[in-house]
């Protein structure tokens, strides 16, 4: 397998734009079953994405982005990520993400009756993903 061309197409599409198209040797992202890495000739699979950092490896370089909610379609020579939100590290406002994290943490720790715990957790998750991705700047 090491012979020849081991790259495949990667496409990340969001409702507002085609976020990224290009080739990659390997792509890593979070799914609801845990983190996965995909090489060329992966079995065809559709899976649901968890908020997390996606890392696209291309030769020696790697590109990092934050993606939130969506799903991925993996074919042997092509991976398509349909994400509701996708951001490059330099598009992330770190201060805002940190503020969002603090707010979400407070909501979770206070546990008022009106708190929608699931939503707060999701918001926390999103904020952490952003902070995490911004770290790759």
């Amino acid at each position: 397998m090491a012979e020849g061309n081991n790259t495949f197409q990667v496409e990340i599409v969001t409702p507002d734009r085609v976020f990224y198209t290009g080739s990659a040797d390997m792509i890593e992202f979070n799914t609801i079953d845990g983190q996965i890495g995909v090489y060329k000739n992966h079995i065809p699979m559709t899976t649901v994405i968890e908020p997390g950092v996606v890392i696209i490896h291309e030769e020696d370089r790697q590109k990092v982005a934050a993606i939130h909610a969506g799903f991925a379609e993996i074919l042997g020579d092509k991976v398509t990520l349909l994400a509701e939100v996708a951001e490059w590290p330099d598009e992330i406002d770190l201060n805002r993400a940190e503020a969002a994290r603090d707010r979400a943490e407070e909501r979770i720790s206070v546990k008022a009756e009106t708190t929608d715990l699931k939503r707060a957790e999701f918001a926390l998750h999103k904020a952490l993903t952003r902070i995490n991705a911004a770290g790759y700047k």
Partner: protein, 284 residues
């Protein structure tokens, strides 16, 4: 024959109206450009979504899922997308006609309205408006669409409504927009379009759970796509309406100019005749 002053007043009033319609046309042309670009940018996302969902459904024909079966309730939810502002020709009334003139029974409908004009028209006719989300029409974002969609889907999963429809204006091109009514849930996919599904696809976690997660996203993407298209259509319709208003004003102004000149000439002739007659009377 109207007096010169009347004609002049009328003409200047039409002229100022024409200035307004001209300005509105320019504004909506610019807005249309922007809205059209946005609508085009959402296309790839939607196309992928559609492809994925249709190939999923083609393979999971045996799954008995509420999203595919429809609910027990006879009630129907309709998301109606109109504009907040008028002066867009038949744009809003065409959408309202889709609801009032269709096969729907008024009592069975729960209207989720986006756009103030639709709210006005439908509530006047006695429709049940459960949600008024008109403010998202100003600058539709995906999260707005998702928020409203979740409310409708909630009503569906709770069994309050059995079917979900969406009424919006499809943007064909700058000069032609088409009001459309589509069924969101239960999902209906044209079997002819599922096509090349030779690849054996695996689903993680399992098909049913994946379906559970993906169908709401599919519905939201349809809804968001309709929203941005509706904005483009609104501006297209307004541009056309204002264009014809401007050229109409142009026509009226030239007509009035002609009348004004005639009246002026008439009054000069009359004055001359009077002066000559007066002079003659003195000379005699």
């Amino acid at each position: 024959m109207a007096s010169m002053r009347d004609i002049k007043r009328r003409k200047s009033s039409i002229q100022s109206t024409q200035q307004i319609t001209k300005a509105m046309k320019l504004v909506s042309t610019v807005k249309l450009q922007k809205a059209r670009n946005r609508a085009e940018a959402t296309n790839p996302y939607f196309n992928y979504m559609y492809k994925t969902v249709s190939s999923m459904l083609a393979k999971s024909g045996t799954i008995d899922h509420p999203y595919l079966r429809g609910g027990q309730s006879g009630k129907k939810a309709v998301v109606v997308i109109t504009s907040n502002r008028g002066l867009a020709g038949g744009y809003n009334s065409n959408i309202v006609k889709l609801i009032t003139g269709g096969d729907f029974v008024k009592e069975d409908l729960d209207i989720y309205a986006v756009g103030g004009k639709g709210v006005e028209a439908l509530s006047r006719r006695g429709y049940n408006i459960v949600e008024n989300a008109s403010e998202i029409m100003e600058a539709p974002t995906y999260s707005d669409a998702a928020a409203l969609c979740n409310k409708v889907l909630d009503a569906f999963t709770k069994g309050e409504v059995g079917e979900i429809y969406l009424a919006y204006t499809h943007f064909k091109n700058t000069v032609s927009q088409e009001p459309k009514l589509i069924k969101l849930l239960p999902v209906e996919i044209d079997p002819a379009e599922t096509g090349d599904s030779n690849v054996l696809m695996n689903y993680e976690p399992n098909e049913e759970e994946a379906l559970n997660m993906i169908i709401p996203k599919y519905v939201t993407s349809l809804f968001y796509g309709a929203l941005v298209e509706a904005v483009a259509s609104e501006n297209g319709a307004r541009m056309q309406a204002m264009d014809s208003a401007t050229s109409n004003a142009e026509e009226m102004i030239s007509d009035l100019s002609l009348k004004y000149n005639r009246a002026r000439q008439g009054s000069i002739t009359q004055e001359l005749t009077e002066i000559i007659a007066g002079a003659n009377a003195i000379a005699q």
